[in-house]
Symmetry: C2
Subunit: 416 residues, 2 copies
């Protein structure tokens, strides 16, 4: 192996951005080392479905080794990168030093609790498979506990579910949870009065899915209200102690369940890089996605801060990550060939959010849809995008089943 002359590309993170970079270099004359702390790639946009018992973890996760089985220039390493040295051009992983010619940091984001220690302790989140399964176990356990609780007040508190954050994840989770109660739990718990159950969505700002156009925001609000979600706009969460949520105006909600979807920040490793960070801890990159001082290093995806043509920072979205992954691969090829890297331009492919069964909102090619048509678009787009042929069939089968039988088959409580 002529390893001395073949450029070595190290990619940190096998999310959408890292995966796309690796794929974009499939036929390039390079060696690639792809690193992730998990052994799988996660289709994060559907993580909330795991939390509400609609999908199995393995239906939205795929082992990275399986994805790249046929890409011979790639090696996968599972582990945590503990140091990055941009000057000497190496990283540390699992106790070894790995030298790179080009580095791609696509480490993604983690939940931002904005310093609320209590939230970190008592709140639920949807960040990876473990936290989603933990959320599922908690939700299902609340119904089990409520089923033998004699005290009406306590029972009501057990069946009160608070979701914080009116972005796409909060909206999707609230809609899906409300449907789980109405259609599935009603059958599983025939002796439980589910009129006591309520899903409350708290949003600090004046509207849901604030980044979306007016008509979609309104449609989302209506669809969600029809699903009996108690939407509270302009409402701040002040505190949560595991038993009670305190709101900004001093009002309280008795509940053991708070799902926090209201914030994200760049992954932990980013803080240790010693590079300039913008809001949410994201790394400021050049228009060509490189680190200003270290042009051999790229930062892409949720961890990168880049201002769009309209003056706004690019959002933390899978569509951005995928496009930046492609761009980074292309720019690495150009650098190897001795060409200048090209600036990244984000092409907005449209917006899409689901509000439950039969209901979604979408904006594609400048046209806004809502309701059933948007939902069908959503289903097909998501199934198509899920990595892996077998998973695609299984997810389709699961959804078809749920659709016809109003059932959620994954209601296992596996750990407390």
């Amino acid at each position: 192996m002529n390893t001395n002359k073949t450029p070595h590309i190290v990619i940190i993170g096998a999310g959408f951005a890292g995966l796309e970079t690796a794929r974009g270099l499939a036929n390039a004359p390079v060696r690639i080392t792809l690193i992730d702390r998990n052994n799988h790639h996660l289709f994060q946009p559907l993580l909330y479905q795991v939390a509400i018992a609609g999908l199995l973890p393995s239906q939205i996760a795929q082992p990275v080794r399986t994805i790249f089985r046929k890409q011979k220039n790639l090696t996968f390493q599972m582990g945590e990168v503990t140091a990055v040295d941009f000057d000497e051009k190496f990283i540390k992983l699992n106790g070894s030093v790995i030298a790179f010619d080009y580095l791609v940091i696509s480490a993604g984001a983690r939940t931002n609790f904005f310093g609320f220690d209590a939230l970190e302790k008592y709140g639920l989140q949807l960040k990876d498979i473990d936290t989603a399964v933990q959320t599922r176990n908690h939700l299902l356990s609340m119904f089990e506990q409520a089923s033998h609780e004699g005290d009406a007040e306590k029972r009501k508190a057990m069946l009160t579910f608070v979701i914080v954050g009116g972005g796409p994840t909060g909206v999707e989770t609230a809609g899906a949870l409300s449907e789980l109660i109405t259609h599935v739990m009603r059958k599983d718990f025939p002796r439980l009065d589910l009129k006591d159950a309520q899903v409350i969505l708290l949003e600090a700002g004046p509207s849901l899915i604030a980044a979306y156009p007016d008509e979609l925001r309104e449609a989302t609000f209506k669809l969600l209200r029809n699903k009996k979600v108690d939407i509270r706009l302009n409402t701040n969460m002040q505190d949560f102690n595991g038993q009670r949520v305190t709101l900004g105006d001093g009002a309280t909600i008795e509940t053991q369940t708070l799902i926090w979807t209201a914030g994200a920040k760049a992954a932990e490793i980013i803080d240790s890089l010693g590079v300039e960070q913008a809001s949410m801890g994201r790394v400021r990159v050049t228009p060509s996605l490189q680190l200003p001082q270290f042009p051999d290093a790229f930062v892409i995806g949720d961890a990168a801060f880049l201002v769009n043509g309209n003056g706004q920072p690019l959002p933390m979205l899978s569509t951005v990550a995928i496009q930046q992954g492609k761009a980074a691969a292309k720019n690495i090829r150009r650098l190897i060939e001795g060409n200048e890297p090209l600036p990244f331009h984000y092409k907005d492919p449209g917006l899409l959010a689901t509000v439950g069964r039969n209901a979604a909102v979408a904006r594609i090619f400048g046209i806004s849809f809502s309701g059933f048509i948007a939902w069908v678009i959503w289903v097909f787009l998501h199934i198509y995008r899920i990595v892996g042929f077998r998973n695609r069939i299984l997810v389709m089968f699961n959804w078809a089943w749920d659709y016809f039988f109003y059932d959620n088959q994954v209601r296992l409580i596996t750990k407390e």
Copy 2:
């Protein structure tokens, strides 16, 4: 509701025995409370498939509430029974007192480490979903760690897998794990020399699956040896410290993996009942499956000790549990109607164990099969027996896929 006159049956445990009792009383004029510490019934004979990443937990587990959705005389309660009072006829559950007219204890078995503290700490087991997933995570992590281990000795130790116990579970796990290595890991880890990998099966006695007829024991031995399992008969395990197994003769095996399948004993709650226990902590019952001093209480399944027609205690098998569940339901009906309960007779439906893909041994209607035909029988019988229509399709699909593509799709490491 005329609850004062309707007899109340409390069933502890939703395994095969408890499930069958509840079903047998579906149309009886009784109220049933079925209790389990988990919210799901587990198809335990396939648990080893979860451990070797062949099946998903949800493919072999079904929420109890879903199973009994249509049985109107049954209520499910998730929780741990903390006390049983046979004289006053009540149990304690989740802080409440529940009175019963008839009690069925079908609490099952747990792993028996025979007092080996080190085993309990470092050994892996296959008892429920959590331990099976833990085993899967550990096995897959060993391959990941080996892939970046430079030291050949350490790498070999990581790829050495010891299974203790030559019963059906040990045999099935050894065969399946060996195939996982040969057919799947070889593709996932092209740079790892899997000649270093070895599966070692330790059995203290002179033969594998000792309860089976001679020709099947020999066939199993051959099939397993063909799959390159290192079978060591008449070999005692002396100690395991998480890094090294010490054998009875002082020899050692360097390994971080020991899967313990060599013992079971009655569930924890049995020890607190204050009734007469036989070997493995099982409760001595009358031929009609009742407690000698408390004829309103039945003990069935793995937790019951009853001597067969041939003078041997009935084994801890799902087929015994199912037949005893049916018999208990019938006897409760007879007691309610004022009739004498009938003695239980076990009808041996045959024996069946799989040794991996294309290979199994079976004895049905007095005829012994081994190899491919036995495997086909095994596949169909198991799929047929798995609770739930959807799961049956998914399991069949998974197996067909694995069969044609030599793939195991569930290789997720979800927690360390």
